[in-house]
Amino acid sequence: MTEMSVLESAKPPPLLSIDNLCKTYIRGDDQVTALINITFELEQGCFASLAGPSGSGKSSLLNIIGTLDTPDQGSVYLLGQPITYTDTSFTEQLRRTKLGFVFQNFNLLPLLTAVENVELPLLLTDLTAARRREKACTCLELVGLGDRLHHFPRQLSGGQQQRVAVARALVRDPKLVLADEPTANLDGKTAENLLELMRSLNKKSGVGFLFSTHDPRILNAAKKIIFLHDGRMQL
């Protein structure tokens, strides 16, 4: 074995590897091609963004990476492991353990307090109630909401709600957080703060972030940007 091949074999697998991904939606009699031959890789601990105008396929791609939707063609690998989209229990397990989600509309459960919302993904683990609460509190402190643990979403500002959503995405220590337009519903200053928070979390914990956005602040902060237009990658 050559020195080069030894080095190559010791290299960690990419966080995300997408190969020739295609997706077409059928709406009535119409066919809408959302993604065409998408191929790229993201390294572990990345801070990357999908950019492009509305309807370019950003959200579709993010949904497929997050196993919320299925591709028509192509493969997606997470940490070198192929994602089997037809195996529901596998994709559920993947979303529980390796992926985190931050949504444009925060999607917090109004019934639950901030700490209970963050604790929610931990309900599917074997952790004790005390340990779950401890982890949720730690995550909320990490996003600067240690003093808002027992506030309901309606009692929090938009920025604070999105921070709770970030804490919820991180609570199970995922490898990749998928954030769909996370700053779209936030004012400029709040959006900047949130972006700064996610960047610092990325640096501290090494968790990868992949955004779908057209917010220039995120695009500026991203270490890698994948441009999409009409479902195709643009170099």
Binding site: L68, D69, N107, L109, L120, L123, A129, R168
Partner: protein, 408 residues
């Protein structure tokens, strides 16, 4: 526990809607329990009336007594020595309360001016009074004399029979019947009292006389049947089996075999209450289903979020099921309390109901509070709540996560 807690929080989310569903479940539960309590009390009352008013728990006769048509009176009667052996054995049995001898006969009763047909029984008065309690009330006069009384030639006439003869206590009537040998015989008896059987046909024809008087009329030492009274009605079948095993040359019947009327009433009531119960359960089911459907439809995005975090669809369905079960449980629990309060209240008022079909005496309005029944209905309501959530949550199985996340 964590899921139950989450489900309870969701139930409390829309308090007014949940309250409405709980109220309907509670009302249904209370209605069902009061109706079933009334049914059980009716069965119990009718059973006791049947046992105490006439049949006892078990009747014993010679083979042929219950099925064959006798050519002569007492053809299928029990001999004295058999009766003695049976009585000795039955007294030893722990479940036996009393053993009564009865001699059945029929004939004509006459005042001299009026003669009508009768159906008579020679009885042991003291034991019959113990058995009947208040089931065969005396309208006038005195009960039949005890065996120690010097004058055994007395009779109790059923109310309509006495009326048709125009007699009252103290009057003398003549009883004419065919003896065990087939000859005609008559005795004069004094009317000691007038009683009510509760059954119109018996009220027109029945009379009772002391056993010695009946033996004198029938000119036989045989009796027709032994009537066994038990301490516990539930033991009827086992005691009957034990008697049949011990004595081979006899025939036995339990009260249920001799009470076709009771069976008909039970069948009729079962039919009525089954239809009513199904309707009530259906109303409860639809109400909780409606509540759960609204809950599912307004939480579509929430479900999308949970599924995005890896919650299995069946887990979500199960949680909606738990919410339904909680509504069923709370409603059921309140319903139990309301039903028990209603039952105790109505029982305390001691209202009387009109005489049931085939009877002449009014019966008290009773509603039973049965622990087993209440427990069963409570769990039925909990299960019904869970099942009610099952149908609306079929939607979740087909739910597309991306569409759910974009749901308004």
């Amino acid at each position: 526990m964590k899921w139950l807690y989450l489900a309870a929080r969701n139930v409390l989310r829309h308090q007014r809607r949940s309250l409405m569903a709980v109220t309907i479940v509670a009302t249904g539960t209370a209605a069902l329990l009061v109706a079933l309590g009334y049914m059980l009390a009716t069965f119990w009352g009718l059973r006791e009336m049947t046992i105490r008013g006439e049949l006892g728990h078990i009747q014993i006769g010679a083979p042929g007594q219950f099925d064959a048509v006798a050519e002569t009176p007492l053809q299928y009667g029990l001999e004295t020595d058999t009766v003695q052996k049976l009585q000795e054995h039955l007294k030893e049995m722990p479940g036996t309360k009393d053993v009564l001898q009865r001699l059945l006969f029929e004939g004509l009763i006459s005042t001299g001016n009026t003669t009508v047909a009768f159906v008579g029984q020679g009885v042991e008065p003291e034991k019959e009074i113990r058995l009947a309690g208040t089931s065969l009330p005396l309208l006038s006069g005195t009960p039949l004399p005890l065996p120690t009384h010097p004058d055994q030639m007395q009779t109790l006439l059923a109310v309509d029979l006495a009326r048709s003869l125009g007699v009252k206590p103290g009057d003398t009537v003549t009883l004419l019947s065919t003896t065990a040998d087939g000859a005609l015989n008559g005795i004069d008896v004094q009317v000691s009292g007038i009683y009510v059987t509760g059954v119109p046909e018996y009220d027109k024809r029945a009379l009772l006389i002391p056993l010695p008087a009946a033996r004198q009329l029938m000119k036989s030492e045989r009796i027709s049947r032994l009537v066994v009274v038990l301490k516990d009605t539930e033991a009827t079948r086992s005691v009957q089996a034990e008697i049949a095993e011990k004595f081979s040359k006899i025939d036995t019947r339990q009260w249920l075999d001799l009470a076709p009327f009771y069976k008909k009433v039970v069948t009729l009531y079962h039919g009525i209450f089954t239809v009513m119960g199904v309707i009530i359960l259906l109303v409860v089911l639809l109400s909780v289903t409606n509540t759960m459907l609204m809950s599912v439809m307004e939480r579509v995005r929430e479900m999308g979020t949970l599924m995005a975090f890896g919650f299995p669809r069946n887990r979500l369905r199960a949680n909606f099921g738990l919410e339904g079960a909680i509504i069923g449980g709370i409603g059921g629990g309140i319903g139990l309390l309301v039903a028990a309060a209603l039952a105790y209240g109505i029982n305390a008022l001691e209202w009387m109901m009109p005489a049931p079909p085939g009877r002449t005496m009014p019966v008290p309005l009773l509603i039973f509070v049965d622990g087993g029944l209440y427990t069963t209905i409570f769990f039925v309501m909990v299960a019904l709540g869970g099942v009610a959530a099952w149908f609306p949550t079929r939607y979740i199985v087909r739910l597309n996560i991306v569409e759910a996340l974009g749901h308004a």
